[in-house]
């Protein structure tokens, strides 16, 4: 896919910011998109969602525990003290809505994609890998001074 034709980093920024401003009333700060390796955060929860059809890939939201609890608490309007089912569900739904916005973005550029159902992984010191040969674009976001990462690994079906 031609990066000069489709600015995926900007699309991740716009998609994520819209979800947070609309559903959480939070205006996120974003760093510059990272293409290729780099920018990993020390994640305690990662929610992933597969993309298929014209573009195969994986959209992931990587959150340190404190960020995940902050997002969930803001989302639900309640105090969240531990990474429980509510947190897994809330971060999964964030990933789902970001992917939904990306789907609209890709449709505008003539690519039809299908979305799977999000899955959340919780733990310490884990990394996710896969999709050999895929391109990677990641955007670090800051919420209340703490960083989380939205990452897209993708390859175009030919």
């Amino acid at each position: 896919m031609n990066e000069t034709e489709i600015n995926i980093g900007q699309a991740i920024m716009d998609s994520t910011r819209e979800v947070f401003s609309t559903m959480l009333m939070v205006e996120l700060k974003a760093d510059e998109p990272i293409e290729g390796q780099g920018g990993e955060v020390d994640s305690n929860i990662t929610s992933m969602l597969g993309l298929g059809k014209d573009i195969r890939g994986m959209l992931s939201v990587h959150c340190p525990g404190e960020v995940a609890k902050d997002i969930t608490g803001t989302f639900l309007g309640m105090e969240v003290e531990e990474i429980d089912e509510d947190v897994k569900d809330a971060i999964g739904e964030i990933a789902n809505m970001v992917a939904g916005n990306l789907k609209v973005f890709f449709q505008k550029h003539g690519r039809d994609i299908e979305l799977a159902i999000p899955t959340s992984v919780v733990g310490n010191s884990f990394r996710t890998s896969g999709m050999s040969g895929a391109q990677r674009v990641a955007v670090p976001f800051s919420m209340n001074g703490r960083t989380f990462l939205v990452e897209l690994k993708y390859m175009e079906n030919t």
């Binding site: 819209e18 979800v19 609309t22 559903m23 969930t72 989302f75 639900l76 309007g77 089912e85 509510d86 569900d89 809330a90 999964g92 739904e93 789902n96 809505m97 992917a99 939904g100 916005n101 789907k103 609209v104 449709q107 039809d112 979305l115 799977a116 159902i117």
Partner: protein
């Protein structure tokens, strides 16, 4: 008899958010029922008096389209209106939902104002 709504979404977070958005939009229901997929939704529709259903599309076990298709075959519940609330906005899938009886669609993410704008005229 008061009005009852059924929220169908595999995300418990989203069911809470939709319920909160209804209240913020000033739309009062006497009872809010919840289902995590189409199978649970059909069971509730068979047992309870429901005035309107707000349903996701992408769900495990029975998705929103299959739910609409099955509901349309049951004479006792096929007339209950269903409004889709989903990340899916493509003309093909929303068109299919409408062909199966859905009365409209709201895209996630959404604001309480949007919920009021779409749902209000249906009540």
């Amino acid at each position: 008899m008061g009005k009852n709504v059924l929220l169908v979404d595999d995300s418990s977070t989203m069911r809470k958010i939709v319920g909160r958005s209804l209240r913020q939009a000033g739309i009062d229901f006497d009872n809010i029922f919840e289902a995590a997929d189409g199978i649970e939704a059909l069971e509730i529709l068979e047992k309870e008096h429901i005035d309107i259903v707000l349903s996701d599309i992408n769900m495990p076990n029975m998705d929103g389209i299959s739910f609409l298709r099955e509901k349309a075959t049951r004479d006792n519940i096929k007339g209950i209106p269903v409004l889709m609330i989903s990340t899916e906005t493509g003309d093909d899938i929303i068109g299919e939902a409408k062909s199966l009886g859905a009365v409209g669609a709201i895209k996630k993410p959404f604001t309480p104002d949007k919920v009021n704008e779409v749902l209000g005229p249906l009540l």
